[in-house]
């Protein structure tokens, strides 16, 4: 039995089987994921046993690099199993000014051993986005960088365009007046005064809804934003542990907060609601084994490379 479990034939068979599963899952499978099925877990377990048995058989004679690589792989797979069964992950939705200790995963609600208050949420852009009006007609199109008050002359049509107002996040207030819903460029729009044939029309053009007012004009007008790339998004939070001292922290993409054995990640935000932030809370008890395995694997591989 040990001979079979430690054989390279079993390893090759497992590689082939895993390769086929990966190809099927990524290219063809439209049903539930195969990665959660018991037989896939059994394949993973068998691979760990195969690698461990192989290492045990050669432990006395094998070089250090061999032992490190194989022990590292076994640790990574075992860590993966621990993560699979013991990892906690839930979503923590927050609105600015609110505090919550409830996290959600599917239909389940979890009470965290700490509460999080969202003090503020902010989006950072690489620079100030720039508005551009494009005028398109049968002979071509032309871009005009615009600001409020800019004027565009179109002598070929005997027309002119004046930029009356630029909105970052177009919305209407209770009095039905146009006002930005947030300081962010979620729904950019331009109110243009178009002079044509002695008449003037005031029209709104939206970057996200191009093609408006086509029938009303002898040329097409589009409004868009350039350089509206988001650099990062950040939640400023106040964390209040049960029976502990509250502390402030910032959580942004690639800068999670680790506290009380949990890790809080900046997951998402809602362009329709500027004060909303979605955090992901995780607790992964298998992570240390995975990282230990990674360290051993890398050390082993580079020792092996030096040979």
């Amino acid at each position: 039995m040990l001979n079979f479990l430690s054989s390279l034939r079993l390893f090759f068979a497992l590689c082939l089987a895993l390769g086929l599963v990966f190809a099927w899952q990524t290219l063809l499978n439209r049903g539930p994921s195969l990665y959660g099925s018991p037989w896939f877990l059994a394949l993973g377990a068998l691979l760990a046993v195969n690698i461990a048995a192989c290492s045990a058989r050669r432990a006395r004679t094998a070089p250090l690099s061999f032992l490190l690589i194989h022990a590292g792989l076994v640790a990574v797979i075992l860590g993966g199993f621990t993560s699979r069964f013991l990892r906690f992950e839930a979503q923590l939705p927050l609105r600015a000014g609110t505090e919550s200790d409830r996290a959600y995963s599917g239909n389940a609600v979890y009470r965290l051993p700490f509460s999080v208050k969202l003090e503020s949420f902010r989006l950072d852009y690489y620079g100030e986005p720039a508005g551009v009006v494009t005028v398109m007609h049968a002979d071509g199109s032309r871009d005009y960088p615009v600001q409020e008050g800019s004027a565009i002359s179109l002598p070929e049509f005997g027309a002119g365009i004046k930029v009356l107002k630029l909105a970052r996040d177009f919305g209407l207030n209770a009095k039905n007046e146009v006002s930005d819903k947030s300081p962010y460029w979620h729904n950019p729009a331009a109110r243009l005064e178009i002079s044509l044939g002695g008449k003037k029309k005031n029209l709104w053009f939206f970057a996200k809804f191009p093609g408006m007012h086509r029938a009303e004009l002898p040329f097409h007008v589009f409004y868009r934003l350039d350089n509206a790339d988001i650099k990062n998004f950040t939640s400023a939070v106040l964390v209040r542990p049960e029976g502990g001292e509250a502390f402030s922290a910032e959580i942004s993409v690639n800068k999670p907060l680790r506290a009380m054995g949990y890790t809080l990640y900046q997951s998402s935000y809602d362009p329709a609601e500027a004060s909303y932030s979605l955090l992901t809370v995780t607790r992964d008890r298998g992570l240390w084994a995975v990282y230990l395995g990674f360290a051993a694997l890398l050390a082993g591989v580079f020792l092996w490379l030096k040979k």
């Binding site: 290219l27 988001i230 650099k231 993409v253 990640y265 992570l287």
Partner: protein, 257 residues
């Protein structure tokens, strides 16, 4: 600066084509002159590419590693140091043929890709980007050289003589790919909160890693010479799918790459 970068890339392409011509002349006519100029042409090609990538880095204000065009040029950059390292160990023009073939092909493919540089999206704004992409591209470069060297060895019926070169390239690629997968996994845990998400790129990288692991083990079982050369070509097909196919056919967390 954009014109200088284009000029340097074009210069690099011209030098790569000249190197390919020199390698072909050595192969077909056993000429001494092209044999002597081949290393110089490849070195000049590498210098021009290095200057182009350096200027691109300056222009973008970040390492040029965030889209397929930038990563392909980086991958090509690694082709040269690997080739020169092995040329020092095996000082025959044959050791440089894979580079002379790969360089114009990779530059040609790069010229077809979208060159639009966008600012980094939030998830990519991390120091891990450099280690993860550099190690992955180094791996792909080594595997590309191994595949081309394997094809050349099979064509010349010298798979047994060239096996050591193939093995060393495969080992270098395997070590770099291991670092690429591990660094990507640690980064994923920092950015997304999960060290493994079964994203198609992750999955195909793992499949590629398993394929090379199996090939290296099979070699120990006696699959040497032409069998090992064939395995290097088959495994590289997986690299190509992981690098290009996944991007074009499958969507996932790596859809920007």
């Amino acid at each position: 600066m954009a014109e200088k970068i284009t000029l340097l890339i074009n210069l690099s392409f011209a030098l790569a084509l000249a190197a390919f011509g020199a390698a072909a002349a050595v192969y077909l006519f056993r000429e001494r002159v092209p044999r002597r100029v081949l290393p110089g042409l490849l070195a000049a090609c590498w210098l021009a590419l290095t200057a182009a990538l350096g200027l691109l880095w300056l222009k973008l204000g970040r390492p040029p590693l965030s889209n397929q065009y930038e990563s392909l040029l980086t991958m090509l950059w690694f082709v040269f140091p690997f080739s020169f390292y092995f040329y020092r160990r095996y000082p025959a023009p044959e050791a440089l043929w894979p580079a002379a073939f790969s360089a114009p092909v990779l530059l040609g493919v790069a010229s077809l890709l979208d060159k639009t540089a966008r600012p980094l999206m939030p998830a990519l704004r991390s120091d891990w980007l450099i280690l993860h992409v550099l190690s992955s591209m180094a791996a792909y470069a080594a595997f590309a050289l191994a595949a081309v060297a394997a094809a050349a060895a099979l064509a010349r019926r010298k798979a047994a003589e060239d096996e050591d070169l193939l093995l060393r390239l495969a080992k270098a690629g395997f070590a770099a790919l291991t670092l690429g997968i591990v660094s990507g996994s640690v980064w994923a845990n920092t950015a997304w909160g999960a060290w493994w998400s079964w994203d198609p790129k992750e999955t195909w990288s793992l499949l590629t890693w398993l394929a090379y692991a199996a090939a290296l083990h099979l070699r120990r079982q006696g699959w040497r010479a032409h069998k090992f050369a064939i395995m290097m070509i088959v495994c590289f097909a997986l690299v190509l799918f992981t690098y290009f196919g996944v991007n074009f056919l499958l969507s996932g967390l790596h859809s920007y790459a």
